[in-house]
């Protein structure tokens, strides 16, 4: 190598000496900016600088069928009213990503919620918010991320909403409040492993008042390792293992509540911790295992959580999910060894090339135990079974059909409609169709 370099240096000196200063200056002139087609939208490149507009739209049509155990208006008028079909925009993002140099990078996604002033105001979705919004300094084997991010979150939360197999993430990811917050995180990565640790405050979407609230804080970390990871044109063999941990303190912010929906992006949360006795701090541990063998894949995560209410009562909860995926058209999920997360399923034969695109069948078992989470009346367990069909006609376009049957069993009878009626358990059947595209 040294030998080669010295030859190059000598050649450069010789050339420089002969041609003089003028052409040496020419060699320094950078090439003009170019536009590269990539990832659904062109990227502008000028030297090390890059810039790309990005966005996504997810539009859901769903049909809800609730059964709260007893057909009585006294039992659950609000839940009965949920029966029926609806459509709404689940996600509409518009953002940018780019680089100021090879090392300094950024990404900002604005979340737009059409119709947020109506129904969705009660669910806390603001009309405009941020999703990812961070600055990153990236070296070859490490990076530092500052801003709204989730780089220490468990596997399913780290997998983009564009690429998760089902419409919604699991109960544990939703109920335990994973997702993005503003903070500083450091990552060290190898080809098939990564380690991340972060210190976070509130989400940037949470606007604290000047006097009443001090910042919520958390510290979290994640480590992933793929002991088996081999890709060839004929298939993928993958075994992914991961652990994560998070400690949160609410500061003066709202107490932490735990409440999953019945595998739907909207609708009631039947099993939940009550607002009055939620926790002021909690500590959770997550365990991940995932595998891929060509067209077959599985993912499982288990998370256990312990918290303390303001009254000093210790509470605990845990839950897990298992996903099975089968690509009828043979594709494997793409996996990023240095991020420990899954990417999109890219069709082998897109419809634009006369193929069928990607067709996949998926199944999920999802469970969360919130029966010890507090003394509230809505605590209980939730079990969901879900099946789905995904069609990716071309990269960046996906149609998803999900059916989810969810059993929600409360510990306490909250509706004394008649003597002898046990805890009012509910069941929800939801069929959803999502149309999504991104660029």
């Amino acid at each position: 190598m040294k030998n080669v370099l010295s030859k190059v240096a000598l050649a450069a000196l010789a050339v420089g000496g002969v041609t003089g200063v003028n052409s040496a200056a020419h060699a320094q002139t950078p090439p003009p900016p170019t536009i590269q087609p990539m990832n659904g939208a062109p990227e502008i490149r000028d030297g090390e600088q890059r810039f790309k507009v990005r966005g996504r739209l997810q539009y859901d049509v769903y049909s809800n069928e609730w059964d709260a155990g007893v057909d009585s208006p006294l039992v659950s008028p609000s839940v009965d009213a949920e029966d029926g079909s609806r459509s709404y925009v689940r996600r509409a993002f518009l953002g940018v990503q780019g680089r100021f140099s090879d090392n300094w990078r950024y990404k900002v996604d604005f979340v737009l919620n059409p119709g947020a002033s109506g129904d969705d105001a009660t669910t806390g979705d603001a009309a405009v918010a941020v999703d990812d919004a961070y600055l990153e300094y990236a070296g070859d084997f490490f990076s530092v991320v500052i801003g709204e991010n989730n780089v220490t979150a468990p596997l399913e939360d780290r997998t983009s909403s564009l690429d998760i197999p089902f419409l919604e993430r699991s109960s544990i990811i939703n109920a335990y409040g994973y997702g993005r917050a503003a903070g500083v995180a450091g990552l060290v990565t190898g080809a098939n492993w990564m380690a991340a640790i972060g210190v976070y405050g509130d989400s940037l979407n949470n606007s604290d008042s000047n006097f009443a609230n001090s910042e919520q804080t958390s510290i979290s970390g994640r480590f992933t390792w793929a002991p088996i990871f081999e890709t060839s044109p004929d298939g993928v063999t993958l075994l992914h293992l991961g652990v994560s941990a998070r400690q949160r303190y609410n500061g003066d912010d709202a107490l932490f509540r735990y409440r999953p929906r019945p595998l739907n992006g909207r609708g009631s949360r039947w099993v939940e911790s009550s607002s009055g006795s939620a926790t002021q701090d909690d500590l959770s541990y997550g365990f991940e295992v995932a595998g891929q063998w060509n067209a077959f894949g599985f993912t499982g995560e288990y998370i256990t959580l312990e918290g303390e209410t303001p009254a000093g009562v210790q509470v605990e909860s845990d839950g897990y999910y298992v996903d099975l995926t089968w690509s009828l058209t043979g594709e494997a999920r793409s996996y990023r060894g240095n991020q420990g997360s899954f990417g999109p399923v890219v069709p082998h034969n897109p419809v634009t090339e006369g193929g069928w695109g990607h067709w996949g069948l998926i199944a999920r078992y999802d469970f969360i135990d919130l029966s010890d989470i507090d003394a509230g009346t809505a605590r209980g367990e939730q079990t969901a079974y879900a099946f789905g069909v995904n069609w990716v006609p071309i990269d960046h376009v996906r149609f998803m059909l999900n059916y989810a049957s969810t059993e929600m069993d409360r510990v306490v009878n909250t509706f004394p409609v008649a003597p002898g009626i046990s805890a009012p358990d509910a069941e929800a059947d939801v069929i959803s169709l999502r149309t999504q595209f991104d660029f």
Partner: protein
């Protein structure tokens, strides 16, 4: 309630059945076709891969098919690191950024240097220009160059019409680094193509034409082109198999490669093909106009393929001015080398 529920289930079942019907023929088709080894990348390496593939398919009587593309070294390695092809042809060593991309996608590779090439600068046979110094080449090809007449570099008073490899080409990267000092830094007012035959045509049909590409394309078109001797300070040296072999054609002599997906090498078909490739690389590369490596080198590379020894001997860097002995003696590494 229950009726609704079963309605829903039947809908799901119907759509699943539809999917199965739709998907089944697609899978059956895949199963029936013979296994195809996918190769893409450098147009410089293409003549070797194409000839080897042809011989191999004859030998296996069509039981194993080989598809060879020539989209350029960079485009080939991009596909390779996305897991889309079994083998990437490349006229330069894998870059450190490509090493990282491959690694994060779970792709390991076995690097096989297959031959030596001399990047050949050609002009129209009617052009009396016989030689250029490296400095003059740089004057012509450097970024922002305004040299548009051969008289500026000691040639006739004749307007230049420049042709050259496109930016996805390994030859482009090698030439710009060896001549201009920075890879990919080049004037842009020339007619680019990843297909070397287009460049050959351009120069053959234009008295003022000038281009550069792999030696094989010159050897194949000697009657229609004239190769310019290159003076690197030791007098003009005409590119030929002899001057590439003895190391005197510098700095434009270089190794050319195939990169084989290591997981795919477990497949008997791919292993069989790669062994056939290495066993025939010397003969085929000499025949198409390149320079074979020493026999001992091919023996070592055969072992490398059999044992699936992964990594690159170049640490993610270019190999400007390396001799054949130098290339053969290098040791494999799996992470980029910075020095």
């Amino acid at each position: 309630m229950q009726t609704q529920f079963f309605k829903a289930l039947s809908k799901i079942a119907a759509s699943a059945a539809m999917v199965a019907l739709v998907a089944a023929p697609a899978q059956a088709q895949q199963a029936g076709a013979p296994f195809t080894i996918q190769i893409d990348g450098s147009s410089t390496v293409f003549p070797i891969s194409e000839a080897v593939a042809e011989g191999f398919q004859q030998q296996t009587q069509g039981r194993i098919r080989v598809a060879v593309g020539e989209s350029g070294s960079s485009a080939g390695l991009r596909k390779f690191c996305r897991g889309e092809i079994h083998i990437a042809d490349s006229s330069r060593p894998i870059r450190s950024s490509e090493m990282a991309t491959c690694a994060a996608a779970g792709i390991q590779y076995v690097e096989i240097p297959v031959a030596f090439d001399g990047v050949t600068v050609v002009v129209n046979p009617s052009n009396p220009l016989r030689s250029l110094t490296v400095a003059q080449l740089r004057e012509i090809w450097s970024t922002g160059s305004r040299v548009n007449n051969f008289s500026a570099v000691g040639g006739p008073n004749l307007a230049m019409q420049l042709y050259g490899p496109g930016s996805a080409s390994g030859t482009f990267e090698y030439f710009t680094e060896a001549v201009n000092g920075t890879a990919r830094s080049s004037r842009t007012d020339y007619t680019p193509s990843e297909d070397d035959n287009v460049l050959v045509q351009g120069v053959a049909n234009n008295p003022g034409g000038m281009a550069y590409f792999g030696l094989a394309y010159y050897e194949e078109n000697q009657s229609r082109l004239h190769a310019v001797a290159i003076d690197n300070g030791n007098g003009p040296v005409t590119p030929s198999q002899a001057t590439v072999r003895n190391g005197s054609y510098a700095p434009l002599s270089r190794p050319i490669f195939i990169y084989v997906n290591a997981a795919a090498l477990r497949r008997p078909q791919v292993q069989q093909f790669v062994q056939y490739y290495i066993n025939n690389a010397a003969t085929v590369s000499e025949r198409v106009g390149y320079v074979a490596l020493p026999a001992a080198a091919y023996t070592a590379y055969l072992q490398r393929a059999q044992q699936r020894r992964i990594g690159t001997a170049f640490g993610g860097r270019a190999a400007i001015g390396a001799s054949i002995e130098d290339v053969v003696a290098r040791r494999l590494v799996q992470t980029p080398v910075n020095d």
